[in-house]
């Protein structure tokens, strides 16, 4: 059993990540924290509560940073719609937010659990994680690992060289990569392999009951946006790839690298500079995911949805 805190900005793929984290019996989801990213904090927080209500998930949800540390806020409305989770009808929240700010919730949770037993899985901008690190410096050595969805090595997102989560708060990301804890970076190169094809959606719809239908509605909207905005054949469902790593380390392969976040370029600010070959002379600080076992991945996602539907 692996303990995790999911730090997210739902977001369609974030919603699937919540379902995977809550619906897989090998994972113990200690809480969900939200951060401004795909949409404003208010919207993504409401969406997180709506997904919990829809799936019957009861874990603490704490709202976090309303904007990046330094930069002006970016949102991804062109991909996730005006609500941040356009597509299905969203239910009303079934419970209240945890009163603590997300960074405090992360600190409290990690510090009260035994050392080395909690994974952080940030799948939005890294603002909350950076704030938590500064709030409690011992967090870095106490966390078991950080598995983050973000960055790009050879395929790119909103610009020719950057990915949204990192570019949305590059200073926070730079702090996270420099901290010295075990990091697995799940970049676009990996998540572009996690395509929600028609076959994937048909299976989720057939096996997942009412919750499966909700997921299909979500990912159908998401797929249409990606076809329209990015010219992809189907939606890459980025965020659950990071969660899946904690269930089955073999779900993707990875290579060690030194990763640093560019903060100053005209074109490249927010780029994850990934040095596999030691050209910068710095020790490796991350495992960079590169090849996804897509069959295994979609089995895990589908099983989690079925599990939540049945329970």
């Amino acid at each position: 059993m692996e303990n995790l805190i999911l730090d997210c900005d739902p977001g369609h793929d974030d919603a699937v990540a919540i379902l995977l984290a809550a619906g897989n019996p090998q994972l113990n989801l200690l809480g969900i924290t939200t951060v401004a990213g795909n949409q404003t904090l208010e919207k993504v927080t409401r969406n997180a509560l709506a997904v919990c209500a829809k799936a019957g998930i009861r874990v603490p949800v704490a709202a976090g940073a309303e904007r990046p540390l330094v930069r002006e806020q970016l949102i991804a409305g062109e991909i996730h719609g005006a609500s941040g989770l356009d597509g299905p009808v969203l239910p009303e929240p079934a419970f209240d937010l945890d009163p603590r700010p997300a960074a405090q919730f992360i600190v409290d949770t990690v510090m009260t659990q035994p050392a080395g037993t909690v994974h952080l899985v940030p799948i939005g901008p890294l603002t909350n994680i950076a704030l938590a690190m500064r709030l409690e410096p011992r967090l870095v050595s106490r966390v078991k690992s950080v598995v983050l969805m973000g960055g790009a090595v050879g395929v790119y997102g909103r610009t020719p060289v950057t990915e949204f989560n990192i570019q949305a708060d590059p200073e926070a990301a730079a702090a996270v990569f420099e901290a010295g804890w075990p990091i697995t970076m799940v970049p676009l190169d990996l998540t572009y392999q996690a395509l929600a094809t028609d076959e994937v959606l048909a299976r989720i719809g057939a096996e997942g009951g009412e919750l499966g239908t909700f997921v299909v509605e979500m990912l159908t909207f998401f797929g249409n946006q990606y076809r329209k905005e990015r010219g992809l054949p189907a939606a890459p469902v980025h965020d659950p790839c990071a969660v899946a790593k904690l269930i089955d380390p073999a779900v993707f392969t990875s290579r060690p690298a030194f990763v640093a976040v560019e903060l100053t370029g005209t074109w490249t600010w927010g780029q994850t500079v990934t040095d596999y070959r030691g050209q910068l002379g710095r020790p490796h600080n991350a495992e960079v995911a590169d090849r996804l076992d897509t069959v295994r991945f979609w089995d895990l996602v589908t099983d989690a949805i079925v599990h939540l539907h049945n329970s």
């Binding site: 050879g154 790119y156 909103r158 610009t159 020719p160 060289v161 990015r230 010219g231 640093a260 560019e262 903060l263 100053t264 370029g265 005209t266 074109w267 490249t268 600010w269 780029q271 500079v273 990934t274 040095d275 596999y276 070959r277 050209q279 910068l280």
Partner: protein, 318 residues
């Protein structure tokens, strides 16, 4: 009719082979050659250029160009790749030639040419940026600039994780060149890493035993120790610059895509990166034919055959 070209270069081991390839190819007429600092300092690249021209019997004007990048003072050559003298210690006889200032020479050669000129820039493009700035009207008459530089995908950098040396060394010059408007063909590192040439390919040349054979065998041996090779089991190394020369007269030896390219020149970690806008995210109009693949076999055969022919010709002449 052969294509008129000017070679701007920083010899440089792979530069030497590239100049030999051009000299050996009837498809091109070399109007002149200009030296720039890059693989090593100008105090070596300029004399090296003259010595190579002497060796090849190339009676064309030679230019001595920029001694430093436009603005950068923090980029330096890696002496491990080409040696401090630029030719891995290979001694050629001193040249008696006088080199002219490179930038006015570029302008004169372009103006006096009876047909449009292609500039093949196989070092940092400092001379090109100065030429564009000082003689913009003349520079607009250039038909195309073919550069060895940058990277498009997979392999972006050899100087840093994201920057190829020629662009890294003078990114401001490269940014000015990409912005200028003359058509550009970019032969980047990811493609030249497929242009691997080893002693097995050059057996015919080495058997010929003339001055080209002797020099190529000596300098590629040195280069091989520090240069990129595709396979530890053989001694094949990337002949970056020769591929740019080949692409200048055999454009279909590479497959290209017409894309917008700019150079990152202010990033702390990414300075010198060629930003290639594959998906049109920037909304800028394409300005560059970016090489994405190469017909390796055709290239290797071309280089080996031409150098072997050149060796035979020079042996006869001697």
């Amino acid at each position: 009719m052969p294509k008129n070209i000017i070679i701007d270069t920083d010899p440089g081991i792979d530069d030497a082979l590239a100049i030999m390839l051009a000299a050996a190819s009837p498809e091109v007429r070399i109007l002149g050659m200009t030296a720039v600092a890059g693989n090593t300092g100008l105090e070596h690249t300029a004399p090296n250029l003259a010595k190579i021209a002497d060796l090849l019997g190339l009676d064309v004007p030679l230019g001595r160009g920029a001694i430093r990048p436009l603005w950068r003072r923090d980029t330096v050559p890696d002496a491990n790749v080409h040696g401090a003298d630029g030719l891995g210690g290979y001694a050629l006889p001193d040249s008696q030639r006088t080199l002219e200032p490179a930038v006015p020479l570029l302008a004169r050669l372009v103006e006096e040419s009876d047909q449009p000129v292609t500039i093949v820039a196989i070092g940092p493009v400092t001379n090109i940026a100065l030429f564009i700035n000082e003689y913009p009207e003349t520079a607009r008459k250039v038909e195309r600039i073919v550069i060895m530089g940058g990277g498009a995908r997979d392999v972006l950098g050899n100087a840093t994780p994201t920057a190829e040396f020629n662009i890294y060394y003078d990114p401001d010059a490269a940014a000015a060149m990409f912005d200028f408007g003359v058509p550009i063909t970019m032969i980047g590192l990811d493609v030249t890493h497929k242009a691997l040439v080893g002693s097995a390919h050059l057996a015919g040349l080495y058997a010929s035993g003339g001055p080209i054979a002797t020099m190529v065998e000596a300098i590629t041996g040195h280069y091989g120790e520090a240069a990129y090779s595709g396979n530890d089991l053989d001694d094949a190394v990337a002949q970056h610059d020769s591929l740019a020369i080949a692409a200048a007269f055999l454009p279909d030896i590479v497959t290209t895509e017409h894309l917008f390219v700019d150079v990152e020149n202010v990033g702390r970690l990414t300075s010198g990166m060629t930003v290639v806008d594959f998906a049109g995210r920037t909304g800028n109009a394409p300005n560059c034919d970016v090489a994405l693949d190469v017909d390796t076999e055709r290239f290797v055969t071309l280089l080996a055959d031409r150098l072997t022919q050149l060796d035979a010709t020079l042996k006869e002449r001697a």
